[in-house]
Every structure is written in C-alpha cells, then in structure tokens.
C-alpha cells in the first residue's frame, strides 16, 4: 500500500434498522490534505468515519485506498489490517499504559528499543516529552489529546481519521492544541478526515470540507467555495448564519443586483455593509464576540440582519445606510 494514496468512499451506503445513516456517499480524502466532514449530530458523519475505518461494513458501495479495495461487496479488510489511525472524541487512551506505552502500542513489530525511540520521537513532536511516563488520568485534556494523536500517527498509518477530536477540550486550550495537532497531522502527508460539528474549525483548519446531512453529502469543496457558493440553504447554514427575506421586501435599489427569480432570497449577514448615514434604522444591537450583530428595520415588517466591526460604534436607534455584496445573496430555487 502506498502511503500517498487517497482514501476513497465510492457510493457507500449503510443503514441501521431501516434508517439510512449513510446514503450513497462518495468522498475522496486527498493525501496531505485535511478534509473536514461537517454535520449535525445524527447526520451520519460518525458512521461515514466508521465505514472508512472498517468498524462498519457498507451495505453497498466500496471503500478504497488508492486502487486497493478495503470494503466492497465481497471483501472487507478488518480494522486491524487497514493501518488507518483513529483519534476519538474521548481520546480512548489505554488507562493502564503510560504515555510512552500508549504511543508505542501500535509499534508491536519493532524491537523494543526501536519502538521506544519511535514513540519518543512522536511524543517530542507533539510536545509531550515532559509527560512521557505519566498515565492518562494524570494528563490534562490537551495532553491526552496530543497523546492520542501521537499514538495514531506513530505506526505511520495510510490515513488518519479524527472523530470530533477537539470538542472535549475547553475553548481556551482548544485553539492552541488544535494548531499543533493538525500541523502534525498535515505533515504526515496522508489522507486525513476531521469529523466536526464546528463550522469555524472546519473552515479554518481544513483544505476541503464536505457537508453531510441525513446521510447524504450536500456539497464538497474548499472552505471558500462552500462559504461563498453554497448549493442549498442547508449547505449554507452548515457553515454559518444565513437569513431569508422575501424578494418583494428587498429595497428597490438592491433588486437589480440580486439575481434569480425565487420568492425568497437568502443572504449571509456579511452581505450587508452598514455605515453611519441614513435610510435605515437600527432596532437592536448586541455583541457577538469579535463582531456585533445588528437588526435593521426593513420593509414590510421584515428585519434585515447584519454584522459589523466592534469599532463601528453603531447603536440601536441610529440611522444608517446599508450597501450590499451581491455575491453573498443566494437564490436556491432556480
């Protein structure tokens, strides 16, 4: 098996007692790239990961590593022979083994000194050298996380699958751990799948994003494509807030810029550019992290929603003028 081969799902389906958890999904994980799989809980994302890993057998379709069939109608390479690294949400470290022994677990075929050297190399790469003899229950969440990633990467797998690996960490630590961890994953040069429900995480850290809903892939592409050109409202919502407005309630000067013909149009809040001026009134304003969200009185009782930078000093009750970026208006009913 070449370690540079992509990991491919070819129209795989898997149903549990009649429910299609994964429904004819095709997805290619390119080597050296992080592919994020994003979806709500119950959307089938974990099942798809389990199909890649070999923990589940597809009802139909195939899983391939390059040209080699891992799962197919007749064949099924069991999980222990796939050489696919796994990282779980709860890390699933072996509680009876130290960090060194956990990382060395998959290196059974090596001599013990070689195994230790290899494990130490990975431990160092993930910045855990000072905790090398600690047991999992003595580690912080971030340390457990990095141990789990070192353990998955140490045996030089042909791919690595991460199942919501950061959701168990507290937010302050999450960014710091995530950068280091995903750096190590990307450097391994193998296909990697990051299952997440955090849109920001998917957009910031991956090369490619796939959106899954009710067992079907809605859209696949770069984060930019998906954000700027969603194919459906569901796909659009997966990556960030989307608002709707009746075409008839759009201010007249915008109508020419917003293409399409459906009754309702969708837009991202960033599509509205708010500046001090006149023409619109701010009804409500509130802080949302680095930006503030504002609600603007619109036509026909339908409010408009926008975001603006914190420094803008726009208050509720202010009169503002609003311009638009037509690229972030979507018409899904063509």
């Amino acid at each position: 098996m070449s370690s540079r081969a992509p990991l491919i799902a070819e129209t795989v389906s898997r149903s549990f007692s009649g429910n299609n958890a994964v429904d004819a999904v095709s997805l290619t994980l390119e080597p050296g790239k992080i592919t994020s799989l994003i979806g709500h809980s119950g959307s089938g994302k974990t099942t798809l990961l389990r199909l890649f890993a070999g923990m589940e057998r597809p009802d139909s379709g195939r899983i391939l590593s390059g040209s080699i069939e891992l799962s197919g109608p007749k064949s099924h390479v069991p999980i222990e022979r796939r050489r696919i690294g796994l990282v779980f949400q709860d890390f699933a470290l072996f509680p009876h083994l130290s960090v060194r022994e956990n990382v060395g677990f998959g290196l059974k075929r090596l001599q013990s000194d070689e195994r230790n050297a290899c494990a130490e190399r990975w431990i160092e790469k993930l910045g855990l050298s000072h905790r090398i003899d600690a047991y999992p229950h003595q580690l912080s969440g971030g340390e457990q996380q990095r141990t789990a990633i070192a353990r998955a990467l140490a045996p030089e797998p042909v791919a690595i699958l991460l199942d919501e690996p950061f959701s168990g960490l507290d937010p302050a630590m999450r960014d710091q751990v995530r950068d280091a961890a995903l750096e190590a994953v990307r450097n391994a040069g193998i296909p990697s799948l990051l299952v997440t429900h955090d849109a920001k995480e998917a957009m910031v850290h991956s090369d490619k994003v796939a959106i899954i809903d009710r067992g079907k892939i809605l859209q696949t592409g770069t984060p930019e494509t998906l954000y700027n050109a969603p194919v459906s409202e569901l796909a659009a919502r997966a990556l960030g807030p989307v608002h709707q407005i009746k075409r008839s309630n759009l201010p007249a000067e915008w109508l020419s810029q917003v293409s399409g013909s459906a009754d309702a149009v969708a837009y991202r809040p960033e599509a509205l550019q708010v500046s001090p001026g006149s023409g619109f009134r701010v009804i409500r304003q509130r802080l949302a992290g680095a930006v503030s969200e504002i609600e603007i009185e619109g036509i026909g009782g339908e409010s408009l929603f926008a975001v603006c930078q914190l420094g803008s000093k726009i208050q509720s009750g202010d009169d503002v003028s609003v311009g638009i970026n037509p690229a972030l208006f979507f018409d899904f009913k063509e």
Binding site: F88, D90, L93, P95, H96, G106, K108, P136, H137, G168
Partner: protein, 545 residues
C-alpha cells in the same frame, strides 16, 4: 435502630457544617455497623489469643500450623488459577463475540452460585470416587482393577480446589463480565486500528484494564474458599479450616480453634491489601462519555462452535453433571420428600431476614465510607475478617458473647444471634458489588446533592440509593443465596424447630446417607436458582443500557 441514629444525624447537620473529623453524628451509624460486624470475630479472636494456648496449641504450632497453612495456600492458589481460567475467558467471549447459545450462556454461567460447596463435593466425590459411575465404567469396559490405572484424585488439594472453584467462579465471572462490557468501546477500536488482533486485544488492552476489578472479585471468592470447612473435610484435605474444626472437635479446645482462625483472617487481610495495592498502582479506567452498546463480532462457524462447546462443558462440569447426579441418586434411592415443607419455610425466612439485615449493613458500610479512603480500607478489612472466618468460628464468637448476656439460645435470642452472625459473615459479600457501583458515580454528585440542600437520610434515599440500585440489587440477591447455603452458624445458633435445608442435608451427609441428603441439597440449589436467575437477568439489563 440505625435508622433513628441516621435521622438524628441529619438533624444535627442541617444548620451547621461540622468540621470533618470531629465528632460528627454522621460517624455513629458506620461505627455501630463496624462494631456489629466486627464484634463476633473480635470476640472469637480475642478469646483465642487470651485463652487459646496450652498443650493443644503447642502441638499445633509445632506440628500442624505450617502444613495447614501451606495446604490452605496451595488450595487457594490452585482455586484462583482455575477460577480465573474459567471465568475470564468466558466473560471475554460472551461480552465481545457472538456465537451460538451466547445469550443463554451469558446468564447460565451464574447458575453454579446456587450450588453449595459441600453439595458440589458430595456430588463430585460420588461421580469421581473409586466406586463411582466413571471409574466403575472404566473398570467394566477395560477389565482393569482399581489399582491398575491412573484416575484424577478428587480427594486431593487440587480436587478440593476444583470443587471450590467450580462453585465460586461465578463471582469472578460476574465481575469480569461487567468490567469487559463497560470498557470503552473506543479503546478497543483504537487498539484494533493500531493493528491489535483479538488475542492482543485481550492480553494487551481488555485484561489489563479489567484486572483491578477482576482481582477484587477474585479476592472475594478466595475469602469464601478459605473459610470452607464442609468440602475440605469431606475430601479429607488438611486446610486451616479443617484444622480449626479439628482443634475444637478432636482436641476439645474451641479457644485454640479461635486462635487458629486468626491465621485465616490474616491470610484474607493479606489478599485484600495486596489486591488494593495492585489496584492503586494502576491507572483508573476513564469513563467514556460516548460509549454505545457494544456490538459483538460474530465468530466464524468453527470458532463459534468451539466457543459454544467450551461454555457448554464448563456448565456441564460446574452445574449440570453434579445436579444430574444428585437427581439420579435421589430417584435411585426413592428419597422421601416427607416433612420438607417446614425446612423450606425456615430456610427462606432466615435467608430473607439475614439477607435484609446484611444488606442494610452493607449499604451503611459502603455509603459511610465513601468519603474517606482510609475508612474504606478499615471497614473493608473488618468485613473481610468476618467473611474469611469460618462460620463455625463466628458461631463460637456469638457463643462467647451469649455467655456475657446470660441468655439461653432459644426463641428470638437465637434468631437475633443467628442473623447477627449472618450480618457479620456476609456483609463483605454485599459491600463489594455496592462499592463497585459507587466507584462509577461522578465524584461531584455528593456535592451537587448537598448544594441542593439534600443531606443525611434524605440524600441517601433520593440520590445514593437510586444510583447504586443495580449494584445494590445484585448485592441483595448474592446475600440471599449465600445465606441459603450457609451451614455452620445456622447449625449452631438456630432456635428450636428452625432446621434449614442445609442443616438437614448436613445431618444426612455426616451420617453417610448421601442418598437422603440429595433431596434437601437439590432443594437448596432450587431455592437459590430463582434469585440467581433474577441476578443474571438484572446484570444483563444494566449492562445493556
């Protein structure tokens, strides 16, 4: 009684938070229970130490103590190996794989628990003895004489270990099954993704993770094995248990017997401490926030058949064959079922009463010690001392106490003492499953409950009890079955007209009327079956959720 103290404790605590180690009324219920459980052992050992010397002790010390101890240790060692060899692989197979009959084996493996050790010894001695059906068949079919061939000798240390292990391994099995099925599925999958084959999974992941729990169960089973007298005596093996009864009966020195019992208690204490140290050294199992019900891998037809065959043969050896032999003997000798009804009634009544009291004691033991590791070790050691002491020695302790009260051993005094000895002897068997449940609870639960104004009895009823319900249920059933089977203390302390099935079976068996002993023995097994089945069912439920 303890309930009253519990309420007053609550009253004392509602307004002011008492400093932790001061004279909080909270410690009164546990102290009482500790005293209650510990007193008979304490009385026996103290009398043994102060009055147990003399010519008999000198003789035992010089000539018998070392052989008794070595024999006991070797029996326990072999028992431990056999129990682990039976229980752990079966529990692993049943939790991890699917094979024909798995669902049945899953609960049927607990059945041998209904079988008292002495009954198992009668049955197997009859089956395996030189005049038994197996050896007779060998002689008939080969024409050899009894001196011309080798046959495994049940009347040996290994034979005794075999008999004890076959009745006690379900303890280890129950705990191993729970430990395996609660293991995070993710760590198994992680191990597989790292290339671990089933064999590796067992040796490198599941077993080490489950080992602390399994050792706890093993300790419990070994303590009960150490306290055995009936099977060892019947098979003629010179264990400490036999030596204790011999000092009493042959030498007429009950005090020396009590002194000798200290040796058994020390061995049990050593086991418990060793297990504790071992458990402490290992990391604790992470509780997985995300575990789904385990999906079992289906074994190939060949392996599936092997697994079924292995489980069937274990059941055959540990339950079906001896029970079948007893039924056969009962039928062959047309054993009479006359006047067994009062025996059944008193067996069930004493079992229920004893189990209820021992259960309450175990609950108070577990809950009161959960805040302090030191208290936990201390209470466990005391309970273990009662569990490891032969029932006859506890009975002796009860008689020493009775002497101080100036009462006759009849009516409610006798029942009171008998139930007391049940509590003293079996609290440990109830504490273990309850503490296993407690250990799984989040640490902050107590604080959460207290912050909501729930303390003392209220907290116990509304928070603790519902949460430990699965373990508590198992504990209650185990206690009931244990007390059904109990013999020496019941024999000594029961009031007039309160013969139990075990007493009757023993009366026949000591007079070598095994055929008559079979019917009461079978009834003990039968009476034990219902709670054991309930236990299996319940354990299956908790593990599935």
């Amino acid at each position: 009684m303890t309930l009253l103290v519990g309420i007053s404790a609550k009253r004392g605590q509602t307004r002011f938070q008492m400093p932790r180690f001061s004279l909080s009324p909270r410690i009164i219920p546990p102290s009482l229970i500790v005293a209650l459980v510990g007193l008979p052992v304490f009385a026996a050992v103290l009398t043994g130490l102060t009055a147990g010397d003399g010519a008999t002790w000198d003789h035992i010390l010089q000539n018998r103590l070392i052989p008794y101890t070595l024999t006991t240790l070797s029996v326990l060692f072999i028992t431990a190996i056999v129990m682990l060899g039976l229980a752990v692989p079966v529990a692993w197979l049943i939790t991890q794989y699917d094979f024909p009959g798995r669902a049945v084996f899953s609960w049927a493996m607990i059945l041998p628990l209904a079988m008292p050790g002495y009954v198992m010894a009668y049955a197997w001695a009859d089956l395996m003895g030189v005049a038994g059906p197996l050896q007779s068949w060998i002689r008939e079919s080969t024409g050899l004489s009894a001196r011309d061939y080798w046959f495994p000798n049940l009347f040996s240390a290994s034979g005794l270990a075999f008999v004890l292990a076959t009745t006690l391994f379900p303890y280890v099995y129950i705990i191993a099954r729970a430990a395996f099925s609660m293991q995070s599925r993710a760590s198994i999958e992680a191990a597989r993704s790292l290339g671990a084959r089933p064999f590796d999974l067992f040796w490198r992941v599941s077993l080490p993770v489950a080992l602390p729990a399994i050792l706890g169960g093993l300790c419990l089973a070994l303590m009960e094995a150490a306290a055995d007298y009936g099977a060892a005596d019947f098979l003629g093996i010179q264990t400490l248990g036999v030596g204790i009864i011999r000092s009493w009966q042959s030498f007429g020195e009950p005090n020396t017997a009590a002194r000798l019992a200290l040796m058994l208690i020390l061995i049990a204490g050593a086991f418990l401490i060793a297990a504790r140290i071992f458990q402490g050294r290992r990391g604790t199992q992470q509780t997985s926030s995300r575990w789904q019900s385990q999906e079992r891998a289906k074994l190939s037809p060949l392996f599936g058949f092997c697994a079924s065959a292995a489980c069937s043969s274990i059941l055959l050896v540990c339950f079906a064959a001896p029970v079948f032999r007893l039924v056969w003997l009962a039928l062959e000798n047309s054993a009479s079922a006359a006047d067994l009804a009062p025996l059944i009634r008193s067996t069930l009544l004493l079992g229920a009463l004893g189990a209820a009291m021992a259960f309450a004691s175990a609950i108070i033991f577990s809950l009161s010690s959960k805040r302090s590791a030191a208290l936990q070790v201390a209470t466990r050691l005391i309970a273990a001392a009662g569990y490891a002491a032969p029932g006859a020695v506890l009975g002796l302790g009860a008689l020493y106490i009775l002497r101080e009260t100036g009462q006759a051993l009849s009516g409610s005094v006798a029942i009171g003492f008998l139930v007391w000895i049940y509590v003293s002897r079996f609290t440990s068997a109830g504490v273990e499953p309850i503490q296993a449940s407690l250990a799984r609870l989040p640490k902050n639960l107590d604080l959460a409950a207290q912050s909501l104004g729930s303390t003392g009895l209220r907290q116990f009823l509304r928070v603790d009890l519902p949460l430990i319900a699965p373990g508590a249920f198992a504990a209650a059933l185990i206690l009931f079955v244990e007390i059904l089977k109990e013999l020496p203390a019941t024999l000594m302390l029961r009031p007039f007209g309160w013969d139990t099935l075990a007493v009757r079976a023993h009366a026949y068996a000591t007079d070598e009327r095994l055929a008559q002993a079979t019917l009461p023995s079978l009834l003990i097994v039968l009476a034990g079956l219902a709670p054991v089945l309930l236990l299996s069912w319940r354990l299956g439920q908790t593990e599935r959720t």
